[in-house]
């Protein structure tokens, strides 16, 4: 059995009297797209916020397995999850830097690498050749991703001026620019039309299969979930009620009950 990329064990998150996540365990592997689905308020985004350091989990542990180390994500506070552990995320309501250009958005994502190359700004002030070289590389990486989502011609426009679907894709490749091990996507297909949704599927499959980056996906759009996810985790009221392949999930009575209710 291949080692899992992410192991979530007995994760619990409590807000005062509200138990948002209740003893949740699941795992995600590097070469799979893992979807987390569930009705509204099931605690899906809370799982993401715990994983990416925005919330501190009440109990339980989350391990990220890299080639030769096992990191406990709980030990990293907010920005360090992205910086040190390499877990990137996108947001339910798009969070780009709207008044910065598309290219600048991707450059900010490569901040830590460039910051080191610029000798914490001092070398950069004097245009040190090592920094100039690194910056060129960063632009190349940005260009590579822009080519993939077909936005190269709009690289110098403000990100806020892009159409909605392009903003979604830009946010995803921006997260890819930090070169993550695990990419967490919070409802990437929300508000997309059928054509954009199909393009998104292609992009996600490319990231997962070609770029070998594990994807964790929260999604309401079942067409996306069923089409691309290899593994589905179903949450309801903070509890895992089912996990399995997409097909199994579709036919699971527990899942149907959670979504549609039971017949009295």
């Amino acid at each position: 059995m291949t080692q899992k990329l992410l192991d979530v064990e007995n994760l619990t998150m409590r807000f005062g009297g509200l138990l948002a996540i209740d003893d949740l365990s699941f795992s995600a592997s590097k070469d799979q797209i893992t979807s987390i689905i569930g009705p509204n308020g099931a605690g899906k985004t809370t799982v993401f916020n715990c994983l990416t350091g925005f919330y501190k989990a009440t109990a339980g542990s989350m391990f990220l397995n890299k080639e030769n180390e096992r990191l406990n994500l709980k030990k990293f506070s907010d920005f360090k999850v992205a910086q040190k552990a390499g877990v990137a995320r996108t947001f339910q309501n798009i969070r780009l830097f709207p008044q910065m250009s598309v290219l600048e958005n991707l450059m900010v994502a490569q901040h830590n690498k460039l910051m080191n190359a610029s000798g914490f700004t001092i070398l950069g002030l004097f245009n040190a050749p090592s920094f100039v070289k690194k910056e060129k590389e960063a632009v190349e990486i940005s260009k590579y991703w822009l080519d993939i989502i077909g936005l190269t011609h709009r690289a110098d426009d403000d990100a806020g001026d892009l159409p909605y679907g392009d903003q979604r894709k830009l946010e995803i490749v921006r997260a890819m620019c930090i070169n993550p091990h695990l990419l967490c996507l919070d409802e990437p297909a929300a508000g997309l039309n059928a054509k954009e949704s199909a393009e998104l599927n292609k992009l996600l499959l490319f990231i997962n299969k070609e770029k070998k980056t594990g994807i964790l996906l929260i999604e309401h759009d079942m067409s996306v979930v069923m089409e691309i996810s290899d593994h589905v985790v179903v949450l309801n009221y903070g509890k895992k009620i089912f996990q399995g392949s997409a097909k199994e999930t579709k036919n699971s009575p527990a899942v149907i009950e959670a979504y549609l209710g039971t017949e009295e």
Binding site: T52, G53, F54, D78, F79, K80, V81, A82, Q83, K84, A88, R89, T90, F91, R95, L96, F97, P98, Q99, M100, S101, L103, E104, M107, V108, A109, H111, N112, L114, M115, A117, S118, F120, T121, G124, L125, E135, V139, S142, K143, L146, T152, H153, A155, D156, R174, A175, I178
Partner: protein
């Protein structure tokens, strides 16, 4: 359609007149005068009437021409567009000619002592504006206590120069470092604050520094101020009319006639160089990762965190670097005045600097210059009409807010481009 609009805008402007009457009636209309050792109210209704009419008429005209949805009459966008376009296409030439003009300015035939003093003052404000632009314009941290760093710079320069007798060029970086330290000191407690809350805390910080300076008598001489701050010398050559025995001064060294203008001109070039360094530094740092991180932080802090940008360090550097330039400007102020007291570092100074940055268009370097020339120039023009200065100041702000609500120059250029930018819009 048009008629209904006209009626509603007349109603609206009459209402504006009413508000103006309620405001200016008591403030301007009722003035107390001492007559035969008794205070008597002497009403000034005529001037109130004029103000009310101006307000109502102004409101009517703005309704008609600016807030009118019917773009046929909209002059706001056309003026804005032509200014922006002009500056976009001719930006480099304008900047170059402005620099050349400021370099030859002291030697122009009409330049006298008075103009030089104003120019020095303007350059000081421009430098402060550029410094604060890093904090407000780039990092988006609304800092209302910027004058504190100006004060810290001025006092640390003065104290080191008086007590240790160190020269300007040694004290200048020390003052900058001290101010930067205070920037970090302010930065730590306000890391989690944004917007209005941040503004209030920074405002309090500015007042705290001023009150500290006022009360720490042993160190700062409190309200008496520090006197006898050494004047700057030209790389060791002092500006003195009567040199001591065997002492080289600026005019003897260069074989010139002594003139008090020599020092003024030197001070002018000093602040010009300091201001230009601030400008070049800001332009450069905007294109570096840290500058981009500042702007990203202004746009969306949560997204920054998700990309692994350290918000704490990024904010603190913005505070520290902004404060450092404030400190440099402060030490220039100290050496120019030769006397500093807490009086010079009141909140109104912070307010003027913030006004310069905001009116100039947040983040725009040229905007700071235009706003400074406009605001400080206006204050100077109205110097003879002391009591109307603030009205003129306020009126100017209202005009800018009507015509350019996002500042005189509100366009932002990307810090890095993939394609060669063709400037045709």
């Amino acid at each position: 359609m048009r008629k209904i609009f006209l009626v509603s805008s007349i109603k609206d402007s009459l209402f504006t007149g009413l508000i103006a009457l309620a405001l200016f009636g008591p403030i301007v209309g009722l003035r107390t005068v001492a007559k035969n050792e008794v205070l008597v109210v002497s009403p000034k209704w005529l001037i109130v009437l004029v103000i009310v009419i101006v307000c109502a008429l102004g409101r009517f005209l703005t309704n008609l021409y600016i807030y009118n949805r019917d773009q046929k009459y909209g002059i706001q966008s056309t003026i804005g567009k032509s200014i922006t376009n002009f500056l976009d296409t001719k930006g480099t030439q304008i900047a170059l000619s402005a620099i050349i003009f400021s370099v030859i300015f002291p030697f122009l035939p009409f330049t006298d002592r008075y103009l030089m003093d104003i120019a020095i003052m303007m350059l000081t404000y421009i430098m402060l504006g550029w410094g604060l632009n890093i904090v407000i314009g780039l990092a988006g941290l609304l800092d209302l206590g910027y004058v504190a760093f100006y004060a810290v710079g001025a006092y640390s320069y003065a104290l080191f120069a008086i007590h240790f007798g160190w020269s300007f060029w040694i004290c200048l970086p020390i003052a900058g470092i001290f101010a930067a330290m205070f920037g970090v000191l302010l930065g730590f407690p306000v890391l989690r604050l944004r917007g209005d809350y941040l503004a209030i805390v920074t405002l309090a910080f500015g007042e705290m520094i001023r009150i500290l300076l006022l009360n720490w008598y042993q160190l700062t001489k409190g309200p008496d101020g520090l006197t006898g701050i050494p004047r700057p010398s030209f790389f060791g050559l002092p500006f003195k009319s009567f040199p001591d025995e065997g002492e080289q001064t600026f005019h003897t060294f260069f074989g010139l006639e002594y003139s008090p203008m020599q020092r003024i001109i030197f001070l002018y070039y000093l602040i010009l160089v300091l201001a230009l360094i601030t400008n070049l530094f800001t332009i450069k740092i905007r294109r570096l990762p840290i500058g981009r991180a500042w702007e990203a932080l202004r746009e969306d802090e949560i997204a920054c965190k998700s990309l692994g940008v350290n918000p704490r360090n990024t904010k603190l550097t913005a505070f520290a670097i902004g404060a450092m330039f404030g400190g440099f400007a402060g030490s220039f102020f100290a050496t120019r005045q030769a006397f500093i007291s807490p009086e010079s570092f009141t909140f109104i100074e912070s307010a003027i600097i913030v006004a310069i940055v905001v009116l100039g268009g947040m983040g725009s370097q040229t905007g700071v210059v235009l706003a400074t020339v406009f605001l400080i120039g206006l204050i100077e023009v109205f110097r003879d009409f002391e009591s109307y200065r603030m009205i003129a100041f306020g009126g100017a702000m209202v005009l800018i807010m009507i015509f350019r609500p996002r500042g005189i120059l509100a366009t932002r250029k990307p810090t890095i481009t993939l394609h060669k930018k063709e400037v045709t819009k």
